[in-house]
């Protein structure tokens, strides 16, 4: 009895008055990614992708003629920052949907907030298991590690059919690498190969002598490294310097040109699975347009997070068009709550031709992506610069 009184009291205090309110013009879409802290290294790539998408789609008529506007709220690198950013986007900026946050851990913190407020969220880089299951308003355009990573292993076996013994190495203090390595280990076992040695390191390590010695001692045919650019790059370098000759698979943490200065000429030949390829399908006009814009600005190939964030914005834009088609009204004439609800439904219908290729989202919000890619690092003769060569 007492409790019900308390609950009613709390309820009246805590639930906002849900008065009707139309969507603003231009239509606001929120981007809540890390623009500060050490996570900003990833977040900045996402900001670039979002901005390219804003320019591109507004130049192509926006949402059936109505322009949209991206609103950026920095999440920083922590969980509380992500919640603050989302609260600002939802309540103050009144966005129709949110692209973000950068890290999976932040998603577990902030996505429930958006889900309870019934605001659709698309994660541009949340790859951990369980993210789309947070709630019905949560989805992602970043394929989980479990789907992407095994492709590199298949490619390695295609190139070296004799592989039997595998060394798996990973940075145990990093969420992404731990979960990615788990996937690698499962795939290795599933393919009937043997994990000859399993080695752990820290992202802050610089000396890998003990791990490398163990790998060489186990006499393996393949090494799989899940780490970030500095530690992973150094590990690869020390493996090669100490005489390891077999193929090396790198995890997504090595999927950046930042490793070139770390391992230099020893980077050559690392195989990395890709959710995105800048040059995959020449007939994909949207990817060509995005990549061209990126190259013009930054004089290099667009990274995966840029493409994925572009994709997330694109999914919102196309789903908003579908909302207009279904309701037969302009978005700006509709109530904000209604738009958010209908938008969330429309995101999960049909498919999208995006820079990632053809994708769709299932009812849970999990991405289904048609194509994955494998790239091999090819270093130039000077041992300082190089590029990712996308394999078929």
């Amino acid at each position: 009895m007492k409790r019900s009184v308390l609950v009613t009291l709390l309820f009246t205090l805590s639930v906002g008055t849900a008065y009707a309110e139309n969507v603003a013009t231009p239509i606001p879409i929120g981007i809540g990614v890390a623009q500060t802290s050490n996570v900003a290294l990833l977040g900045e790539e996402e900001v670039v992708g979002a901005k390219i998408a804003e320019k591109y789609f507004n130049a192509h008529g926006g949402i059936n003629g109505t322009p949209f506007k991206l609103i950026f709220q920095d999440t920083g690198g922590d969980e509380a920052g992500a919640i603050n950013s989302f609260q600002n986007l939802i309540n103050r900026d009144k966005v129709v949907g949110i692209v973000g946050p950068t890290l999976s851990q932040q998603a577990f913190s902030a996505d429930p907030v958006a889900n309870r407020a019934k605001v659709p969220v698309l994660g541009p880089s949340n790859t951990a298991k369980g993210v789309p299951q947070i709630g019905e308003y949560v989805g992602r355009v970043s394929a989980p590690v479990a789907i992407v990573a095994p492709n590199a292993l298949k490619q390695a076996i295609k190139e070296h059919p004799g592989i039997k013994k595998v060394a798996v190495l990973y940075a145990q203090n990093d969420a992404f690498n731990t979960s990615e390595s788990g996937t690698f280990q499962e795939t290795v076992k599933k393919m009937g190969l043997q994990i000859a040695t399993l080695q752990k390191f820290q992202t802050t390590d610089t000396d890998f002598t003990s791990q490398v010695t163990a790998v060489l001692g186990a006499n393996v045919d393949l090494a799989i490294v899940s780490g970030l650019s500095a530690d992973g790059g150094n590990l690869v370098k020390q493996l090669r310097q100490m005489g390891y000759k077999g193929p090396i698979i790198g995890g997504n943490g090595l999927n950046t040109v930042n490793i070139f200065p770390v391992c230099g000429k020893y980077c050559d030949g690392i195989l990395i699975a890709q959710a995105y390829s800048p040059s995959a399908d020449p007939k994909n006009v949207i990817n060509a347009a995005m990549a061209a814009d990126y190259r013009a600005k930054y004089k290099k190939e667009p990274p995966q997070f840029t493409a994925q964030t572009f994709t997330a914005v694109q999914v919102f834009v196309e789903a908003l068009k579908k909302v207009e088609a279904v309701t037969k009204k302009k978005i700006t004439q509709l109530d904000l709550g209604k738009v958010r609800e209908e938008l969330n439904k429309q995101i999960r219908t049909g498919s999208y031709i995006t820079p990632l290729g053809k994708i769709s989202l299932d009812h849970e919000g999990e991405i289904h992506q048609e194509n994955f890619y494998v790239a091999k690092i090819k270093m130039d003769a000077n041992g300082k610069t190089g590029k990712y060569v996308y394999l078929k």
Binding site: R3, S14, E79, A110, D111, I134, A175
Partner: protein, 303 residues
């Protein structure tokens, strides 16, 4: 008002939460001990709540107890933190000054690495889907708010008790205090344990508040942040950590409209605060009050 709470509720509760964490550092400081162990106990408390809230083993308990499982989580977190604090405190508090600080940093790191490697703590991803006590973030003021009031009352009382005087005696001169018949080890461990229990309970309350819990909660960075709360706020009065925690937690969010430059401004404010208010905000307020009292001759005496 309602809109204001929807927008800023999370921030306000965070301010209270950070003030509580600052207080957890204040008790050891009261007895002159520079301990940076609070984030470790905070992380531990959060894990206790998240584990009780999510794993299969406690499912019948959760069903049977309903919402009253939450106070039980706080209690469990407090007890576990307290026991660990005694075990860690007795050897660690033989160290002094900077060496104690280093030992407590090591403690936080050890705890973090253990949590990263255990299965039950969810490794690096952590524990997610922590059950909720309230629907809205703002409503969590009903857990943190009363705790803050309780702790303020506790601090006020302890300040005027034998224990509080013993703490201060040890802070001013441990040898002299020992000579006066105060057992320094006992009181130092006591101060350390009070801080640890508080941090543990705050952690247990924070796991539902943040929806998720992972090893990133208890880091060296957090240790430094809490220390800054107490130093900027003032370490000589209970109002210091309260002011420091609330203001420093709010500052980056209040500066949010400044976009990219907000962290620069945040840093500048910290530098100026520590240069011009060496006694912290509470110390500066006290000085101003003393000044006005002297100048205008109020009958009320401060000493």
């Amino acid at each position: 008002m309602d809109d204001f709470l929807q927008n800023n509720g999370f921030l306000i509760v965070t301010m209270v939460q950070q003030a509580l964490l600052a207080m957890s550092l204040y008790y050891p400081l009261m007895s002159g001990q520079l301990s940076l162990a609070s984030p470790g106990f905070y992380a531990l408390g959060g894990y206790v709540a998240a584990i009780i809230g999510t794993i299969e083993y406690f499912a019948p308990w959760r069903d049977a107890l309903g919402w009253s499982i939450f106070p039980l989580e706080w209690l469990a977190a407090g007890i576990i933190s307290g026991v660990l604090a005694v075990l860690v405190g007795i050897p660690a508090l033989r160290l002094r000054g900077i060496y104690l600080a280093l030992a407590t940093i090591a403690f936080v790191e050890i705890l973090r690495v253990i949590c990263l490697n255990l299965e039950i703590t969810g490794g690096a991803i952590g524990i997610f889907g922590v059950p909720q006590l309230f629907e809205s973030r703002w409503s969590y003021i009903w857990t943190f708010g009363p705790l803050l009031i309780l702790m303020l009352f506790f601090s006020y009382r302890i300040d005027r008790s034998r224990v509080g005087r013993a703490f201060k005696a040890i802070r001013e001169d441990e040898l002299a205090a020992d000579a006066m018949g105060i057992n320094p080890t006992r009181y130092k461990v006591l101060a350390f344990v009070i801080g640890a229990v508080l941090a543990g309970v705050v952690g247990a309350m924070s796991a539902p508040f943040l929806n998720t819990w992972n090893a990133r909660q208890g880091t060296f960075d957090a240790s430094i942040a809490y220390l800054a709360y107490v130093l900027i706020g003032g370490s000589r009065s209970m109002w210091g950590p309260l002011l420091g925690g609330t203001l420093l937690a709010a500052l980056p969010e209040v500066l949010r409209p400044l976009k990219d430059s907000r962290l620069i401004i945040n840093g500048v404010v910290l530098v100026f605060a520590s240069i011009y208010m060496p006694q912290g905000i509470a110390g500066a307020v006290g000085r101003i009050r003393n000044f006005t009292v002297r100048k205008f001759g109020s009958a009320r005496s401060e000493k």
